[in-house]
Structure formats: C-alpha cells, structure tokens
Symmetry: C2
C-alpha cells in the first residue's frame, strides 16, 4: 500500500538532478535522462508536467533545456510529487464531504484525513535544497 509509482520516483530523481546543478545552468533532457537512468521519452512526459505546473522552466531550440523555476529551497517535495501523481488522497472519501455514500457518520473518515494531513506536512517541509547532492 501507499507505493510511489515509478513515475513519481523518476520525477524526484530528475528534479533533484536539476537542483544539484549550478544555478542558471540549463540542462538538456537527454543529459538528465542519462544521468538519472530513466528512459528519455518517459522523462519528457514528466518534465512536461513540471513545466505546466510551473516548477521548472523550459526553453526550446538550440541552447534550450530545463531550469528550476525558483531557488531549490523554495520548491518542496510535496509540489514535486503532487505535480506528477496528483493530490495525496488515502481514500476517495477524504476530499468531498458528500462523497462518502455509505454512511452519514463515516467513522473512518477522520482517520484518513489525519493521514493525509501528516503526509502532506512531511513532504511540504522538505525542499529540493535538502535533497540536492553537492
């Protein structure tokens, strides 16, 4: 249970690599993929999502590549994970109140809510600066 998908795993590897580079050094997708040992086409999809959610900036054409959109200490692991895996939801009934069809008083509901809060809290406290190797 609660396994991170390989996509999430790759995503973290890729962006940690970016965070470990010198500031303002643009990295090629091919370079990142080779460095973190991930299929380039697959990593491309992941970085497209990063680009859409705004945690990395992308540049096309000659001299193009990827760059962190902000300083590593301002990008959290929570942002990274949720960018590619979607929101952290231990159970469908956590989000919307009316979605827990079974019981009006779902006794399990608050437990999942607590799990969600704790996990998000942990991930939000870790930044790319903490994870970067240098």
């Amino acid at each position: 249970m609660m396994e991170l998908t390989r996509k999430g795993d790759y995503a973290i590897r890729g962006i940690v690599y970016l965070a470990s580079q010198p500031p303002n050094k643009i990295s090629l997708l091919s370079e990142i993929a080779a460095a973190v040992d991930v299929p380039q086409t697959f990593l491309a999809k992941i970085f497209q999502q990063f680009s859409k959610t705004g945690i990395v900036k992308s540049f096309r054409g000659t001299g193009g590549g990827f760059l962190l959109a902000g300083p590593p200490e301002e990008i959290t692991l929570l942002q990274v994970v949720e960018a590619v895996e979607g929101p952290i939801l231990p159970n469908r009934c956590v989000l919307k109140a009316g979605e827990c069809e079974r019981d009006v008083s779902c006794t399990v509901h608050p437990v999942w809510h607590q799990v969600q809060q704790k996990v998000r809290g942990i991930l939000a406290n870790i930044t790319l600066k903490d994870l970067a190797t240098n």
Copy 2:
C-alpha cells in the same frame, strides 16, 4: 497517490461490521456482505486473509461464520489494512538498506521512512472499538 484499494475499503467495512455486533455473536459471510454492500465472493477472499493473519476466527458448517479473534479495542486499523494490502511502503527503498541501488547516499530515503513511520503510527492508534458503530 496513496489510495486505498477497494479491497482495503471493503475489508474495513466488513470488520467494522463484525466489531459492531454483540460479543461472541457469529456472523455469516452472506450477512456481512449484504450489510456492508460488498460482493460476497469478493468479501470471502478478504476474510480468508483475515483468518490467516489471525484477526478473525472462522467456523465451518452449520452454525458457522466469523468472529473477531479478540476484543475490538485490541485490534488496530493498521493490522486490518496490512492484512489485506500488505505492508505500508511509500517507496521500495524504505525496507531493505541495499535495495536503493541508485545512490549510496539516497537523500530521499529518510523522508519516506518518516512518512511510513507516521502513517503506521496513526493507524496503529485506531482500534476497532473506535470505529464500531453502536
């Protein structure tokens, strides 16, 4: 991410129903399945796992059925979830030290470990007595 499977959902529903019954009242699978609105054949598989891990007792033949193996306040949500979903592992690299092939110093490793500990802690603190409706 982190979604409980339907199997886990059904498992909780089923065992909470058991916990809500009078002590020592044996419940038929057909009765539980109808009460919690789960396909009986599927619930059968789930209760087989419960039986194997020892959190419920089963009796065959006439007058048979299922019973909690202990008092509701001594069975935790963690036991229930791990019985059907397997151990809680946010990432493959949490368990064995050598399994994190990529980097000798995997910086993300301790984060997942912390997540695992927190989640297990929360679930271990909830018992079936807390969840039973009566």
